[in-house]
């Protein structure tokens, strides 16, 4: 069985409600994460501010943090190898990482609109 691990940046919650905005990418990714689990992939997800030991204990993750700081997060590992840094890939990309067949359309479309960043709002 393939393993799929996600090492999230320090978020006080994975919903992002404590940040200035709810990141729609996080919403989408959470759904994709559960989809992978349902496909029989062994999935794990760690938050730096809650399980820092998991980060320190994984040599690949620790070395990425040593080099790039938290900017390298989120890290995505497949079978222990880093396949993606600093972003949340789309579902079809995740499927490719795992050598799976082209996935069906996501059940939940990414949410755009109010949750996203507006020019001049100060967040970007």
């Amino acid at each position: 069985m393939k393993t799929f691990q996600v090492y999230d940046p320090p978020m006080c919650c994975s919903s992002g409600v404590c940040g200035p905005e709810v990141d729609p990418k996080l919403v989408r990714f959470s759904a994709d994460f559960h989809w992978l689990a349902n496909q029989g992939v062994a999935v794990e997800r760690y938050n730096l501010s809650q399980q820092p030991l998991e980060f320190a204990g994984n040599p690949a993750v620790k070395s990425a943090l040593d080099n790039d700081g938290t900017a390298c997060l989120p890290l995505i590992l497949v079978n222990g190898n880093i396949v993606s840094k600093g972003r949340y890939p789309e579902r079809d990309e995740l499927a490719r990482f795992l050598g799976m067949d082209e996935p069906a359309r996501p059940a939940i479309l990414p949410v755009l609109g109010d949750g996203s960043c507006k020019p001049g709002s100060g967040c970007c």
Partner: protein, 590 residues
């Protein structure tokens, strides 16, 4: 005193900092012990003056008080409890992961929620472990958990997310992660709280509309969760005898009595006690015994000499602010210290001097913006309703994030959205549009985010910066709200406090929180200062004398520059009364 009759096993005192709940809790503990009960007093007072008050060093262990038979005390430092939690999480990776990474984790764990839950964790054993407290008849707490904490503990989803998998969604339960074995204990603790046979909750307020409204909110929130054994105590009421001898005391009494006559409806049904304003600080056994035991002797104030104070007034700060001709002025401080009024006074004075000013307030009463709109040339007034902003933000989040969640997850997200951080972020987002105007004019705000919120906002800013860095278009400019506030050329943060121990301490905490975010407060303002009002009433004179050491501490220890605003006999509504706040000489006795 109704709140002392037939007391249950647990008594909790709750109310804002500075209303006197620690004093009343101490007095209650002494009173009950001297009436033959074995009493444990538990204090979370950040000033930790219980030890000082009782004349014995108390720490995080049950300590018998030699001066009072049958009384023991225990001090819980919520900050230390939160630090212990942070150390537990961060300690093992310190020196292993890069220093910047470790600091980022610590900031995530530095919110108000972490402190609160960590303190509740310390309470749990006292509420549930019968062996630990077997030798006591009553346990008195000088604080109570908030509705937010209790509701989180009641949500089954919070536990399954955080404890069973260790990867749940609830931000505010973070501090309990890894404590699964205690799950049953938390449940029992909440059950004890909700049982009027075992627990009485005493709401402590001052005789001011804002304080009473605040207590009414707390009452409603905790009653909804099931904490029904509630009492109301109004502390520090101006006695009639003082009103007879001093016009300032008389007008304070009139204002207080009017607030009490207009008591919020939900509070009217509660058993109710009133405690008079005392001439002395509540330090020492004698003072504390008098608070509840000697109604005849307590009104006698000893101070008959006038009290004088040499301190800069608010107009001197405005002089300095006016030099820059534009910029952002933010007033920060705990609720009830008068931020909105002072923001209005500063804005009105700047406008009167001919500068364009935008005053923006989150004043829930709204009467300020109504009385000022159009009243002064150059002054624009706008109002942001925190409730509306927070509700909009909640709806937005629930529609986006909430759409994908099951019922349990949704309940959890809804609770997260009731956390104090959420309101702060929602309001700050609404304000951030106005902030940009400060390049052209003065923008005066009566609210500001805490350092913790700014650091969280900036963490996202850092993420955005990183994204920008990876983009080919290097011309894109990134400014986070924190970067704006760190710019001393553009932003002046004024910390507002009162000349009393707990408010000054809370203001100092606020300041260190801001410093953590790289923001240096520009000045402190001490509001409602009796000493600056040159009162004739012996009681107010005694209080004025007590204020001097707090003013001194602010002047020499806490602030780069400061101003003192006198206690006024008129409620500062409308332009002429607001301008009175600027001049300390106006309160001079004639």
């Amino acid at each position: 005193m109704k709140f002392l009759t037939q007391p249950p096993r647990f008594l909790f005192f709750t109310g804002k900092g500075g209303v006197g709940k620690t004093s009343i809790a101490c007095a209650t503990a002494i009173h009950m012990a001297e009436n033959g009960n074995r009493v444990l007093l538990v204090s979370t007072d950040p000033a930790s003056n219980v030890g000082q008050v009782l004349g014995v060093a108390i720490g995080n262990q049950i300590t018998p008080i030699p001066e009072v038979a049958r009384l023991s005390a225990l001090e819980i430092d919520p900050q230390a409890a939160a630090q212990e939690y942070r150390d537990r999480i961060v300690g093992p990776v310190r020196g292993v992961l890069p220093e910047t990474v470790v600091r980022g984790i610590e900031e995530q764990l530095s919110g108000a929620c972490t402190t609160e839950i960590a303190a509740f964790d310390e309470f749990t054993a006292l509420l549930t472990d019968a062996n630990l407290t077997a030798e006591f008849d009553h346990i008195i707490f000088d604080t109570a958990p908030t509705g937010h904490t209790i509701r989180l503990l009641q949500l089954p989803g919070a536990w399954s997310g955080f404890l069973d998998e260790g990867k749940g969604d609830a931000s505010c339960l973070g501090p309990l992660a890894g404590l699964e074995k205690q799950r049953e204990k938390y449940k029992q603790a909440v059950q004890s709280l909700a049982d009027p046979q075992r627990t009485r909750l005493i709401l402590v307020a001052r005789a001011q509309a804002s304080s009473l409204n605040e207590v009414a909110r707390t009452h409603g929130e905790l009653a909804k969760i099931g904490l029904r054994g509630q009492h109301l105590v109004v502390n520090g009421v101006m006695p009639e005898s003082e009103a007879d001898v001093d016009p300032l005391a008389a007008s304070i009494r009139r204002r207080e009595q009017a607030s009490l006559a207009a008591l919020p409806g939900v509070l009217k049904t509660l058993p109710y006690d009133q405690l008079p304003l005392m001439p002395f600080n509540m330090v020492g056994l004698r003072a504390l015994r008098q608070l509840l035991n000697e109604p005849d002797g307590r009104g006698t104030a000893v101070e008959d000499r006038p009290v004088d104070i040499e301190a800069p007034g608010l107009s001197e700060l405005v002089d300095r602010i006016a030099r820059d001709r534009r910029g952002l002025v933010m007033l920060m401080g705990k609720g009830g210290v008068g931020k909105t009024t002072l923001a209005a006074a500063i804005a009105v004075e700047l406008a009167r001097r001919g500068f364009p000013v935008h005053l923006t307030t989150s004043d829930p009463a709204a009467h300020l913006s109504e009385t000022l709109s159009g009243a002064v040339e150059n002054l624009t007034v706008s109002r942001i309703d925190p409730r509306v902003e927070t509700e909009n933000y909640r709806q937005r989040v629930l529609e986006t994030k909430g759409a994908t969640l099951d019922a349990q997850g949704r309940a959890l997200l809804e609770e997260d959205l009731r956390s104090p951080c959420t309101e702060e972020i929602a309001v700050f987002q609404a304000f951030s549009g106005v902030i940009r105007e400060s390049t052209r004019k003065f923008v005066v705000m009566d609210t500001a985010p805490t350092g913790h919120t700014l650091l969280l906002l900036d963490a996202t800013g850092a993420y955005h910066r990183e994204i920008t860095r990876q983009m080919t278009d290097k011309s894109m400019h990134v400014t986070t709200p924190m970067m704006r506030l760190q710019d001393a050329q553009r932003t002046k943060v004024l910390i507002v406090t009162l000349a009393e121990t707990t408010p000054v301490l809370e203001a100092a905490n606020l300041q260190s929180d801001l410093r953590r975010a790289g923001i240096e407060p520009w000045a402190w303002v001490i509001n409602n200062c009796a000493a600056a009002a040159h009162p004739g009433s012996p009681l107010l004179r005694q209080r004025a004398r007590n204020e001097l050491k707090e003013v001194e501490a602010v002047a020499t220890h806490h602030a780069h520059r400061y101003a003192v605003v006198p206690l006024l006999s008129n409620e500062p509504i409308g332009v002429p009364h607001l301008l009175e706040l600027l001049d300390t000489k106006l309160g001079q006795a004639t």
